[in-house]
Each structure stands twice: as C-alpha cells, then as structure tokens.
C-alpha cells in the first residue's frame, strides 16, 4: 500500500506509485510506437465546429483531424464536451431535441455528415458505438450479436452463425461464451457484457468504433481485458475512445486530445501529451492537479 501524501490529494485514477513531479511519471507513458508504414490518412476532419444544446454552447470552434486505423483518446474533466463531440460523429445528438451544429463541419471520409443527403441510419451502420453503461439487449448472446445484421434484413442462418463466431472471437469473448450462446446477454459479468457490446458493434463491420467511457463501470481486470481488445482491434478499425482515466488514454491511444470547457486545448501524440504537453492546462490535468 502506498500511503504517501500524494494519494490523499490526487484523483482516484492517478497512479499512487507515481510521484508528483512530471519527469518521473514514467509508468503513465506508453512506449513510443513505430510510425505506421505509409503514414496515416485522416478519416474524420472537424473544422471550426460550434455545437449547441438549445441556447447553451457546448463546443467552441473545434478543429481536429483524426487518423484512420489509429486509437484516439479524448480526455478532459466532466462536462468538457468530449462525449458531445463523440456523439456528433454518428449523429446520436440528433436524438436529443433542440441540439444543433451552428457553425463548422465534420467530414468523414471527405463527406460532410450534416449534409441533407446523409442518412444517419446509413452513417450509424458504418460507425459503431460502445456506451459507458454496457447495454446488451435482454436477449440471448446470439441475438445481441446478430441484431445489427437482422435489422439490415440478413436472415441466412449460416451467415449469422459465421458472424457471431467471428465477432465474438474478435471481441475475445468466444471462448468464454461459446457454450451458452442462447443464454441471456444479461447473464454475463459486467466486463463480458461490455465486450459483448463491442462484439455487437463489430458484427456489422464498421469503419469507426466510438467508445464512450467503455471501462468506467468495470473493475481493473475487466478493464485490462477491454484495453487489450482495443489494442487488437486497432489494426482493423479506427477507434475513438472517451475516457476519464488518464492511464487508460496513455495505455491505449496513439493520439490524445485534451478538452476543457468545450474547447480543444491540445491535440498531439499521446506520448507528447503526457510527457511534454505544450499547454499548461494540459500539464496540470495530466499531472492530476485538477479535473
């Protein structure tokens, strides 16, 4: 047990082993990753985005380019707008009355997703989402996975069986549930439920997976499994993860964006954000001095 004075003042998710001086925060920092061959492509391009809930502005002039087949983490204190931005990407904010993008644009693969000829239904088939509170349907594991395909009208049993196995293997859940595919998804443990939700999302073969604090309700072991999974998935999918846990951002992501009060404060390689942030607010946040 570490019982230094540090632990009493720091937020829960700051590792107690680290000392308060930035230079010795080594455990937080991920090993430098080799740059991907052929460089990276921008998949989501956000320009001058202003977002409003009614009259209340939630996002201020966001400019951000997110890389394809990479993990990007959004960090920042509660209410900083990171989840709001995430939910702009698959237009989930449309479901909330009286929300609007008053200025700026979000382009995914070069298409402005606010355009009138963009159908949010089609958009969401290509952009999966995993929620903070795991939300498997109270149906069998099999039906949970096949839900996305069934609503697209796919009925072939052979095809569905194939996708179920592939998705569960993809979500590192197959070995745990292969003998009880027809039991309720709610019979699984919390961490398994969240991985089931990830499997459900990848069953429809999206390009992008949005994760809104996927581990905030999980214990450390389940969290580790989900993070391991994120590592495996990033070769095939673009992953954007909103997290309250700075270690998680440090462990999982290639790039990190720090938000504060609806503004993008800093966006850089994760290593840079944690080791050598350019902005003093970022520095204060990642070192646990506020937020």
């Amino acid at each position: 047990m570490v019982t230094s004075a540090f632990t009493t003042t720091a937020p829960m998710d700051t590792p107690p082993a680290a000392s308060s001086t930035p230079t010795t925060r080594a455990p937080l920092v991920p090993a430098a990753r080799p740059p991907a061959a052929g460089g990276t492509r921008t998949i989501i391009d956000i320009e001058n985005l202003d977002f409003y809930y009614g009259q209340k502005q939630a996002l201020f002039d966001i400019n951000l380019k997110l890389d394809d087949k990479r993990v990007t983490a959004f960090i920042g204190p509660s209410g900083c707008g990171k989840s709001t931005l995430l939910r702009c990407f698959n237009r989930m904010n449309d479901l909330i009355d009286d929300t609007s993008i008053k200025r700026g644009s979000i382009k995914i693969n070069g298409i402005d997703i606010s355009r009138h000829d963009v159908d949010p239904i089609e958009l969401r088939k290509r952009i999966g989402m995993v929620f903070q509170k795991s939300n498997p349907f109270p149906k069998s594991i099999y039906e949970n996975i096949t839900y996305g395909l069934r609503i697209q009208g796919i009925k072939s049993k052979a095809r569905l069986d194939e996708v179920v196995e592939k998705s569960l293997r993809g979500a590192a859940l197959w070995d745990e549930v292969k003998d009880r595919l027809y039991e309720s998804g709610l019979s699984l443990s919390g961490g398994q439920q969240q991985r089931l939700c990830i499997a459900r999302a990848i069953a429809v073969e999206p390009e992008i997976i949005l994760m809104d604090e996927p581990c905030s309700a999980l214990d450390p072991i389940a969290t580790a499994k989900v993070e391991e999974l994120i590592h495996e998935l990033k070769n095939r999918y673009t992953i954007i993860i909103v997290t309250h846990s700075m270690q998680q951002a440090a462990r999982c992501s290639d790039k990190t964006a720090f938000f504060y009060m609806g503004k993008l404060i800093e966006y850089a390689d994760t290593r840079t954000i944690f080791m050598n942030p350019a902005n003093s607010q970022t520095e204060a946040y990642v070192s646990g001095r506020f937020g």
């Binding site: 929620f131 839900y147 996305g148 999302a201």
Partner: protein, 355 residues
C-alpha cells in the same frame, strides 16, 4: 443488583407517546374498516349469487342460468302444488294439459298464473355480450392507445404542444362515463348512423379507457432503459425497428398491467353502453346474423345493464332477487377470469422480456 439501577430507557407516558398510539390505532382501524366493507360486499354477492348459480345436486351448477336466454317466469298452482316455469315450458305444459283434457272429454283446465319478467331462464346472451364488448373495446383501445403513446414518447418533439395534448388526455380520464355515453350516442349512434350496435359500444368504451391506457403506456415506455434505444439506433436501426425490437417488448408487461384495470372498467360500465350498445332483451344471439357485417351493427345484452334492468326497471319480488344476485356473481367471476388471463399473459411476457 441490577434492580437497584434506575432504568433510563423506560417508556414514559408522554403526550407524544399517546399520539403515537392514537394514530397507530386510527390507521389500523381505518384499514380494517375498509377490509370489512370489501368482505361484506363480496361476501353478500357471493352468498346470494351462489344460491342461484350453484345447485346442491349434480351437476352442482345451474346450467340453465348460464346457457339460456332470460324468460318470463310463470308461477301457478297445479294439483295443489306451486309450480314455477319459464315461458316456453309453461306454454308446452299448458298445451299438453289442454290436449290431455280434450282427449279425456273434460273442459280445458284453467291456469291462474302470475308472471314475473326476466325471472326465469338464464343470462347467456348477457355473458356473450359483455365478453364481446370487453374484447372489442380493449383491442381498439390498446391499438389506438399504444400507438399514440409511442408517438408521444418516442417520436414527438417534447414541447408545449405535446404537453397540451398530454394534459387533454389526462383531463379526458376525469370525464364521467355518462358523458362518454352521450358522446357515443351523438357521434356513433346518430351521426355515423351505426344505431345501437356493438361497434358503437366498442368505440365509446374504447374512448373511455383510452386515457388510462395512453398514460400507463407512456409510463411503461419511459421505464425501458435509454440504453436499449441508443444501442439499437447506434447499430443503424430505424426508429420503428428500435421500437419494435428493443423497446415495445419490454414495455408490454407494463402496458398490460394498465389494460387489466381497463378491462374491469370497461366490463363494469353501464352508462356508456346504455344508449350505444345494450338492449334490454334480445332473442337472437350475436352470431345469429344473416351476413357477416351485421355482426358489428347489432345491439347486445350486457351483464351490467341487465343488473340495472332487473333491479330497477321491473317490479321487485323474491324471484327477481335471484336473478340480480346471480347475475352480479357471474359478472364478478367473468371480470376475474378476464383479468386473471391478462395477469397470466403479463407474467409470461415479464419473465420472457425481463431485464
């Protein structure tokens, strides 16, 4: 040793303690009083009604009461004995007696009989009519009510207009049932020209329970976790797909709970069907129609209206009392059976769609 120590925790007869006791007994007394009233009402109906419905000899049930139409009861003296007979039996009996007398060359016997309307036969047409009214109006009310509840909670933009609609629906729940009867009479019976008919009664009763169903369905839909909707929509489902597959199944048990209350109300209301659907007496049974469409445009007999008629529209005597309590007993039993069926269905759904 210990007895020397003064007990500081001993109960003190303060005013606060006395009020505590007073209220405990007041509440307890009120509950027992209510219980007593309920037991008295049910007990009286069951006691009186079972005398009509059940028999001490096999088959132990008064089959005629449950399977025949109401008839006029004739009471007369024959061979020094008092005989009770229904209309049809009385006629055949008289004819056979007259024929017997004629064959024997005697003058036709004289029958001094007293007649009591509706006191013989049974209440089968009323049972059928009530079941038809309940089933039909509940189907209409559930379809329209759930549809509007889905629109109000899932589709409509929440704002002053939706709030106004909701308020209007709630107010509708407070409208006295006789007013619904008048509305149905004016709207369906006269304006639509449906006359006194099943379909006019269905819609009148449906409109009467609709507010309850809409309000309860909205509540049931709201209790379905937001995560189900988001999870479904995020997979690219349309709103209707989401409602059908991820919301409605889980709201159904709640909706059914409210409709169970609706069933009791629909079955029990006399006022709305008085001038829209119910006949005092009708010889034909509902399925004895010439063509299928006539089925909807025929009036029916109904249990609550029958109770009303036999208790207040005809001269009272010991023979009508049997019918009154017998009908009331059967009526309670039928409502209980329909409600029990809905409860079983709801519990089945609940265990299938629990979360």
């Amino acid at each position: 040793m210990t007895s020397d120590v003064k007990n500081p925790y001993a109960s003190k007869p303060t005013a606060i303690r006395q009020w505590e006791n007073f209220f405990f007994w007041a509440f307890r007394g009120a509950t027992y009083f209510v219980l007593l009233c309920g037991v008295a009402v049910f007990g009286y109906i069951v006691f009186k009604g079972s005398q009509t419905v059940f028999r001490l000899t096999p088959p132990f049930v008064n089959v005629a009461f449950l399977t025949e139409s109401p008839e006029t009861l004739y009471v007369f003296e024959h061979d020094g004995k008092k005989v009770e007979m229904g209309d049809k039996d009385y006629r055949t009996f008289r004819e056979s007696e007259e024929a017997k007398a004629k064959a024997a060359g005697q003058p036709a016997p004289e029958f001094k009989s007293e007649s009591y309307a509706y006191s013989a036969g049974g209440i089968f047409p009323c049972i059928v009519g009530t079941v038809l009214l309940v089933v039909g109006s509940m189907v209409i009310a559930l379809v329209l009510g759930v549809a509007s509840a889905i629109f109000l909670t899932e589709y409509a933009t929440q704002g002053p207009i939706v709030r106004a609609i909701r308020l209007a629906i709630l107010n509708l729940a407070g409208v006295p049932s006789i007013v619904f009867g008048l509305f149905g009479f004016g709207m369906f019976v006269i304006f639509f020209g449906w006359n006194v008919s099943l379909i006019a009664g269905w819609f009148t009763l449906a409109f009467m329970v609709m507010p309850v169903i809409i309000t309860a369905s909205e509540e049931a839909l709201k209790t379905v976790p937001k995560g189900f909707r988001e999870g479904s929509l995020a997979l690219g489902a349309t709103k209707w797909q989401t409602i059908r597959k991820a919301v409605l199944p889980y709201a159904l048990p709640g909706i059914l709970t409210s409709s169970i209350l609706g069933i009791a109300r629909v079955a029990g209301e006399t006022a709305p069907i008085m001038f829209t659907a119910a006949y005092v007496v009708r010889d034909k049974l509902p399925w004895q129609v010439d063509k299928f469409s006539d089925f909807f445009f025929q009036g029916v007999m109904a249990l609550p209206y029958h109770i009303y008629v036999v208790s207040s529209k005809i001269p009272q005597n010991e023979y009508t009392e049997r019918v009154q309590y017998g009908t009331a007993f059967v009526f309670l039993a039928i409502v209980a059976v329909i409600a029990a069926a809905s409860i079983i269905l709801r519990n089945k759904l609940r265990s299938r769609y629990k979360w």
